[in-house]
Symmetry: C2
Subunit: 189 residues, 2 copies
DNA sequence: TACGTAATCTAGCATTGCTAGATTATCAAG
DNA sequence: CTTGATAATCTAGCAATGCTAGATTACGTA
């Protein structure tokens, strides 16, 4: 009687479709267009069904955000291994980070500026969240004693650049110049 | 017949009360508690009156944000002149910036993460927005040729630190250590 | 086949931003 | 002082939102 397993699979698949729809709509029309009714339409179920998968709307945003952290971690890991030269590796990671934020603005927004209740540097931190941090740490400066603080600072700089660029508060034209400055600041151990 | 002037003053005063109420409620209970009905109650007028002052809710947030940029600029200017030593000046500015973000979280949110349609580095940039940038620029490195890019990068780092700290994604305990790292990165011209 | 449970839906509540149209206050002209 | 036009303000309501109680249907089991 594998019907329970089948139901489980179908449930998981439906949940996947919910987050996928949320992400797609958000990326196309912004998060304010992601309404429960709209998602219900998209998956061809009634609204209450969504609440059997997620506690509330924010939980859907959170699910998308976690997905995003996984993808960002993968991208950063890849970028970190593109060169053996430390300077080039840092630069590659920085460029990748900013490209990720630029190419998935709604996803990035879910990860960092929408209320999700996701925390780091705490006991219940999800693995997806830790991996990205690890990829940054690996490239910052494996030798220095203050790896964690240095990684946090590097991450903050990248996040700030991503945010200020997205909101049109720093010049898009000077992106490379800023990356160069940032990388230089993190080179001299 | 100075009644027109009196009406103008009363109107301005009412507008001031609207933004003040919005800011106070936001700082106490978060921006989601700032509803038009609530503000109308607070100023003891009906809801439509608010729309004779602001086009919509976002415009009220924007007004508060501009107020915030003015105050931040003042704080940074003051911090920049606290020491003649460049290293100490930078450090003072960085510390002030982060303290400002920490002490007025809702205000800072209005300035940077809520949709306001405020831009920089553009023609219609408001003076309040430019002044803060100028205070940062003054301290970064008046000698180097790339002042603007350096200032943007410094600003981004500060903004990133403020945001990641607020959302609990970097350790509060390591704040000073991160500031030290940041300042060192921006010292060697 | 009948029953009990789980899955799903219909219908609705309260709250939101915003607005049309009615009502009241204001003030110059007669 | 009265009148009438204009400006200021309010009442009442719309459509959309997140969310949920209670009815209905589907489904596996005895």
């Amino acid at each position: 009687m594998g019907s329970a397993e089948r139901k489980g699979r179908e449930r998981a698949e439906r949940e996947r479709r919910i987050t996928a729809a949320a992400r797609a709509i958000a990326e196309r029309e912004g998060w304010s267009a992601v309404t429960i009714r709209r998602l219900a339409d998209e998956i061809e179920y009634s609204q209450p069904v969504l609440y059997s998968h997620f506690e509330n709307r924010d939980a859907i945003v959170t699910a998308v955000a976690i997905e995003g952290f996984g993808e960002l971690a993968k991208a950063l890991h890849k970028a970190a291994h593109r060169s053996a030269d430390r300077r080039k590796a840092i630069e590659s990671v920085a460029t990748s980070y900013l490209a990720f934020a630029r190419q998935h603005p709604a996803l990035y927004q879910a990860m960092f500026t929408l209320p999700t209740g996701l925390h780091f540097a705490e006991a219940d931190t999800k693995p997806e969240l830790k991996e990205g941090f690890a990829a940054l740490a690996a490239v910052v400066s494996p030798s220095r004693s203050d790896v964690e603080a240095a990684t946090e600072t590097f991450w903050a700089a990248l996040h700030g650049l991503a945010e200020l660029e997205r909101s049109g508060r720093i010049r898009r034209s000077a992106r490379d110049e800023r990356i160069a400055l940032l990388v230089r600041g993190f080179l001299d151990s």
